[in-house]
Symmetry: C2
Amino acid sequence: MPTPPFEKTEYESRLRRVRARMEAAGIDLLLLADPANMNYLTGYDGWSFYVPQLVAVPCQGNEDPLWLGRAMDRAQAPLTSWLPDARVIGYPESYVQRSDRHPMDWIADHLKGRGWDGRRIGTETDVYYFSPKALERLRAGLPNAEFVDADLLVNWVRAVKSPAEIACMREAASLVGGAMRAAFDAIEPGVRQCDAIARIYAAQIAGEAGFAGDITGLCPLIMSGRAAAAPHPMWTDDRFERDQTTAIELGAARRHYHASLARTLHVGRPPQRLMDTAKIVEEGLEAALAAMRPGVEAGAVEAAWRRVLDRHGLKKESRIGYSIGLGYPPDWGEHTISLRPGDATVLEPCNTFHIILGMWMEGWGMETSETVLITEQGAECLTRFPRGVHVKD
Amino acid sequence: MPTPPFEKTEYESRLRRVRARMEAAGIDLLLLADPANMNYLTGYDGWSFYVPQLVAVPCQGNEDPLWLGRAMDRAQAPLTSWLPDARVIGYPESYVQRSDRHPMDWIADHLKGRGWDGRRIGTETDVYYFSPKALERLRAGLPNAEFVDADLLVNWVRAVKSPAEIACMREAASLVGGAMRAAFDAIEPGVRQCDAIARIYAAQIAGEAGFAGDITGLCPLIMSGRAAAAPHPMWTDDRFERDQTTAIELGAARRHYHASLARTLHVGRPPQRLMDTAKIVEEGLEAALAAMRPGVEAGAVEAAWRRVLDRHGLKKESRIGYSIGLGYPPDWGEHTISLRPGDATVLEPCNTFHIILGMWMEGWGMETSETVLITEQGAECLTRFPRGVHVKD
């Protein structure tokens, strides 16, 4: 595996685009806690986000970002990041999970020593790995800084993928197709959900494609039996049964770039209501895909889908898709563009979406999805798995 | 699978102990965002923590907690929780990932409608799934409430396990032993890390034990080759080589209760420095285990270990263990008791620890660990996997 996964020029281009947004927002220093954003700009990778850590990006002077984390986790930086050693800073072990101090006390002090107190500092405010206490301690330790909300600043840059990122997503799409195939092969009456999950993980991670898959933002979701109408159930050791519909939503990740895929399987003779709904969903999916092209608003894609549903008297309240790409647990969505009414974001070439059509009815459900790349010509499905309800007898 | 996994009396006992702490702290309403704490009190389980959600616990009047989350995720509640339907409240889809509103606006409004504005409200402040913006919006929407820091309040209750919880951890220990065996079986020169990881996942989840394993707080960690001295590397498609030391740290979870285990494997003829270090670590582990009994301070356990290291001229800066149990990604630690200098917590029967001895040296490393239950008699290792460096030729 190269260290880091992309060319230095790719990281430079990412930094340039982030700095342009920082400049527009008047931000001198950007503090990032989302591990996907940290990875995006520096390559840093590791399961160290369960303790506080940041990447600090100075706006001016082309100064390299700083990685600031737990001292022991500096060891992951030379394996994964292009950052020079001197820009990889560790806080002492004595700051880990203590009630009388916080890693952000140390980090604030370090940033003060570098002259950042009194400057305008942007932080993320609604990410998973940056807590209210973390922000409070940073503020307390940098009393002369002006803190501004820079939530999603990097995520919006990430919404347009480079050719190298798209290549990763194509590899992920190949893994996720194999994982869905493994699920379909595994699901038989009497087989436990966890046995299918084990086969799915093996295909996601080791695959047949000749390269490793990474851990996915969401775990594989099996909507079957008692959980058939629940969108985010954890797997169990319940056994699959004959005459049961199972919806499966899963992702695969290559260098933490995701492709996600949902399909529905029926073991036995499928009920008419399932086949009827699936046909409408398929028609709606085609309408949405046909609407996806540069220059179109995100909301218009959902409207194309909804027109089909309306015609058939069906309803779906939740959004039908979102920007997807680089991610760590617990999510693979980028929290920027949503395919739903009122989202006025104009689609651009190299946006990537997970368009997910989950129909959770009274006591049963079905799902279908694709991971989609916007090209000049329109929507290209990166995932290539046969559509429609799969029937197994 | 029963719904929920434990008897109602178990949840009542947990609530009683949490309410006693709330009363002592003068907290009228406790808002929990840590999915482990939400699960602990209500049984609620699902991969829905990637959007904001809370469990609200009223202190007085024996009123059932409220689950407050995304409307579609109410569907997981009847599958996993003992909460009555009327206490499972969903915010509309139109609040999900929008820049102009936040789920906590809706939740604050809902709590105000129930009369909680003007009361004393405790929140977690340093958990993974409760952001600075979430707290800010709650405060803004409940302007007459007094917000107090209730971080770790429930975690401290969780530090003492019930017999039913210990039974889950024993099951997890059986899964994790199988997963370590799978790793050792898989690792051969020429095999990719991801192939070993696939085997590990299969054993963690489907196992041979007759019950499903759940997703683990940390992903499996393989410290090998270039990453031999890194404590938290992500797996790659690098191939194992002859004459290579590999440390493996992994967990297994049963009903989200963890047992974790680390061991070290050498393929080929092990170097003397590895065997010498392993012998000292083994002696230190025995000393630490011998020191673990009710009435002893956590810091004294580390001191017993350190005396052995000092005698041999070795050093380890990081803590040697922490309270372990119920957890969701990204952690299985409970963030309460640490086995390190200065931690004055007095060990009690039914505390559970992951005692982890990771020695990351210059360019190489080794690890050994056990998941340990404190009994009246002392330390009982729940994990039962042969110790020492495993050598494979």
